[in-house]
């Protein structure tokens, strides 16, 4: 909306310019300036008037004398883009344009790391995309070197280097075989942005339970549940115990606690006990009273 209003304003002023016709006026503009830097615009001829600078999200207006330079201090224009300059005087109008470019020194990185959590051992499972901005939040479109580094929970490091294209660069990394929190860093010069990637265990590899009689009940307890890389399956993971006997069955969904799940089920002669977690089946125990 702001941009549309700006363009409308520029259009109206340009229309006035067309109506006024050309006179002996000069307007010296820089071809390009860096965002936030001081600059000046010189003009001559045409008497006193008003100078407009109209850009993507900024408009400046200055009263000008018959001739000389209009000085703009630092931080007058800070949004990168193409700016139109219009000088209106009693004798007519004059226009031109110049560009405001991002500062070449990066000041801020926007680093997208995805996912925040993934199973271990996934090739190219982690993606990182970085956008490089200057101190005024302008996307730096000039090619910029970016380095990526993923430190695994065991201290192993994966590195990659890329050069930005139109302000962005990206990479892919593998999750390691050890669970834990990995540190994913994007760096441009001395500028760093860090994200935490949680690498979690995969499915249980072997699920084994033991049964022991406890009065009129059977105490079932799994051995510590681990994935195929030896990582402990997180507490809270559901383990389903099922007891099947003549004419019925009993089922309990039990969360893992300190790596094991345990439950007491009623004792039935000839009962068969099974254990599962998600789609992984464990061992089966037959019970004779």
């Amino acid at each position: 909306m702001k941009a549309i209003l700006t363009l409308l304003t520029a259009g109206l002023l340009l229309a006035k310019l067309q109506a006024a016709g050309g006179q002996e006026q000069t307007l010296n503009l820089p071809k390009s300036i860096e965002a936030g830097s001081a600059f000046s615009i010189e003009h001559s001829g045409g008497g006193e008037g008003t100078l407009y600078i109209i850009g993507p999200s900024q408009v400046l207006k200055r009263d000008v004398k018959a001739e000389g330079a209009v000085y703009f201090p630092a931080r007058s224009l800070y949004d990168a883009g193409h700016y139109i300059v219009i000088l209106t005087q009693a004798s007519g109008t004059k226009s031109g344009s110049f560009d405001v470019a991002p500062i070449s020194a990066p000041d801020k990185l926007s680093f997208f790391a995805n996912p925040s959590r993934l199973p271990i051992g996934v090739k190219n499972g982690i993606t990182g995309a970085v956008y490089v901005f200057d101190a005024y939040g302008n996307l730096i479109t000039a090619p910029t070197a970016v380095s990526f580094e993923l430190t695994s929970p065991t201290g192993g490091i994966q590195k990659d280097h890329a050069t930005t294209s139109i302000g962005r660069a990206w990479t892919e990394m593998d999750s390691t075989s050890q669970q834990g929190s990995g540190k994913f860093v994007a760096q441009v010069g001395e500028l760093k942005s860090e994200r935490i990637i949680r690498q979690v265990p995969g499915d249980p590899c072997t699920l084994k339970m033991n049964a022991q009689q406890a009065g009129q009940q059977v105490q079932l307890q799994t051995e510590p549940v681990r994935d195929c890389s030896g990582n402990a399956i997180p507490d809270g993971t559901i383990v389903t115990f099922t007891e099947t006997y003549a004419g019925g069955q009993s089922t309990v969904d039990v969360p893992l606690k300190r790596d094991v799940a345990q439950v007491k089920l009623p004792l039935h002669s000839g009962a068969k006990f099974t254990v599962a977690s998600g789609v992984v089946l464990g061992n089966q125990i037959g019970w004779q009273k």
Partner: protein, 375 residues
């Protein structure tokens, strides 16, 4: 002005006429509230005594119902009221008696047995309560012996609960657009099976929380014609357990009324999950779970709350499989009483007879809700 006056007069006459009609010929549902006193008949027969009791319960006239009992010395009026509305907050607490039915089981000159079915309207549908009443003759009228269900007593004790609980901190509203956030849980459909039923197409299956964090899940499906144009979109609504702990599996069932399977070219399944705070407690054991074949096929069992926290609402979902392990149906039932610690509560879910013939094994899960607790 004249037109306005005429309109007002017409409205007044119509209002009076409707009030008169409503009082003279009331609808069935309004009977107990409008002309309650004249509706109650003399308890000169066992059926009339039970009928009167049903109307008094419907009108929440606990005192009058209690006064009519032959065995009122055995319990108090508040105990009778709590027997119907629940000793602990549950589905029945906020329900109303929609209608009731009574039919004789046995009768003699001085006593009779009558079955009373009370159909309560709850937020999740009708909850049916059945009581077999013994009615006795006292002089020229009959009185009901109310079969009071005593409140289960949980002995005073301390139950240590140290199961895991998950809390979630999302990115802040003011964070930069590139700031890190936590991803939604990964869920996976591990089984899906469409079937044609008399009233339309049913899509059922099972959904697994494949992640290490709890998930709030829902499931929707879009039926597509052979040219990929959408035919209908529906959701599982409550035919699913919405909160899944890591590696937990829920069945789901989505109904598409008035659609023929022959019209369907493909089905677009859309599982949805978000990260939610949750607790691994309470743990509910399903004991004596049993599939009872036709006739009157059912899935029965008992829920036992193994934790110390009272579960106010429990939703039982049964997954039925055939001999080859293929999913054939999903049934569900809300249990209308609270689950007290270590106290068995029975469930009985009816299964359509044509489905029951195919059933070989079953698997049951329980979704729970506790007032003031986490999901």
């Amino acid at each position: 002005m004249k037109k306005g006056g005429l309109l007002a007069l017409s409205l007044a006459i119509a209002t009076v006429a409707l009030i008169v009609i409503g009082c003279v010929w009331p609808v069935q549902a309004a009977l107990p509230f409008i002309i309650q006193k004249t509706l109650l008949t003399s308890s000169s027969t066992p059926e009339a005594a039970v009928q009167n009791l049903g109307q008094e319960i419907q009108a929440h006239n606990w005192a009058k119902a209690y006064e009519s009992f032959a065995n009122k010395a055995q319990f108090t009026e508040p105990e009778f009221e709590l027997d119907l509305t629940g000793y602990t907050t549950n589905l029945r607490t906020y329900s109303t008696l929609d209608h009731f039915k009574a039919w004789p089981l046995h009768a003699s000159a001085d006593e009779a047995d009558i079955r009373l079915e009370l159909d309560w309207a709850t937020v999740v549908g009708t909850s049916v309560m059945t009581r077999d009443l013994h009615v006795v003759r006292t002089g020229d009228h009959w009185n009901v012996n109310w079969p009071l269900t005593k409140q289960p007593i949980v002995p005073p004790q301390v139950i240590a609960v140290n199961y895991l609980r998950w809390d979630v901190i999302y990115r802040g509203a003011g964070d930069d657009w590139g700031a890190q956030d936590v991803n939604a849980p990964s869920v996976r459909i591990i089984d899906m099976h469409p079937v044609q039923r008399a009233d339309g197409v049913v899509v059922m299956g099972e959904l697994l929380n494949d992640d290490v964090v709890p998930a709030y899940v829902s499931m929707s499906a879009i039926l597509q014609a052979k040219d990929k144009s959408p035919i209908a979109k529906e959701e599982a609504f409550d035919k699913i357990s919405h909160v899944l702990l890591p590696k937990q599996i829920t069945p789901f069932l989505i109904q598409f009324p008035d659609v023929r399977l022959s019209q369907v070219g493909s089905i677009d399944m859309k599982p949805f999950s978000i990260l939610v705070p949750a607790s691994a407690d309470p743990v509910i054991a399903i004991d004596n779970e049993k599939f009872n074949p036709s006739p009157n096929a059912s899935l029965t069992g008992q829920l036992i709350n193994q934790s110390g926290q009272v579960v106010n609402v429990a939703h039982v979902l049964g997954t039925l499989y055939d001999k080859s392990g293929q999913l054939v149906w999903v049934v569900d039932q809300y249990v209308d009483s609270a689950l007290l610690p270590q106290t068995p509560v029975a469930f009985n879910i009816q299964i359509p007879d044509d489905i029951a013939k195919k059933v070989s094994t079953e698997r049951t899960v329980v979704a729970t809700f506790s007032f003031g607790g986490l999901l």
